[in-house]
Amino acid sequence: MLPETLQQHEAAAAIDRDLPGAVAGGHDRLGETTLEVDPARILEVCRYAKERLGFNRLSAITCVDWHPSQPRFEVVYHLHAIRGHRRLRLKCRVAENQPLESAIGVWRSADWYEREVFDMFGVEFRNHPNLSRILMPLDWDGHPLRKDYPIHGFKYSYKDE
């Protein structure tokens, strides 16, 4: 259900009108628009935003770990329309081991962003052509930006000196 503050927002109202039920909430503060999207329908919303609303550039995909609250992860999509310089932020909450649909069919630039989110948080993206680690070594264990990952390194664990 779209909150009242967003009823007048052009893009938000259009998404809510044509894809009923996809937007669960959102807010429009400080000149930034955020929509909370149902994770099952994120691909639908992305495609609509690109093809009908003109958000032709994917600025970033990132993720927030809200451990220990559930569902744990919040995947954030920053969209940008080069014509008119409009921006839109999509958020969807996913639990651990809950895969999202890959946005690579909409924006090709989603490729590395999704690999980074997978590498750092362990969020899986379905139908991604090559979902492997992008920053850490390929044989790395764990996902470093999770809140339950150890903060400190191994500086004081050397025994040989």
Binding site: I151, G153, Y158
Partner: protein, 193 residues
Amino acid sequence: MFLQNQFERNFLTTSVDYVFNWARKSALWPLSFGLACCAMEMIASSTGRFDIARFGAEVFRPSPRQADLMIVAGTVTLKMGPVLRRLYDQMPDPKWVISMGACSSVGGPFNTYSVLQGVDKIVPVDVYVTGCPPRPENLFYGLLKLQEKIDQMTTLVKRPTEVRLHESMLEEFRRQVRIAQINQPSGELVTLA
């Protein structure tokens, strides 16, 4: 033997060593190996304001095959570690390593999951340069220290060993080992190579 004892310290060998060391220390070719902000200072030290060419180390080579000094300038991540070791192995002998800055020396402020805590864990380091990042003058000081170190190298001169083993001393050593083995309760004989 004719050549025996011909390579100890004498006029000829020390002179040849002097020339070798002079050539090596005055024309160090560093590998351009900037990893983080220390690389900026390394680049600055090669510019006209600081001018590393005054010490003969201005020829930064992009290929490890042509370099004989590796200035590890910056944070070494665990992913970069094997690459760094490989580059070091590809450099021709004789080769030297300067660990520039706090990060490459001891990990710096990055006691995190992804950062190697000191480049000396994977390559032998000759000179450590402190600073975060070090100023070019600081790097020059390290470079001069390295030149001093190269000056001490002996290529042709064989340093005389401190203790010369005589055959009778070796025989005495073998005898003591035999005695020690007899007294062992397990009875296992340790063969002396």
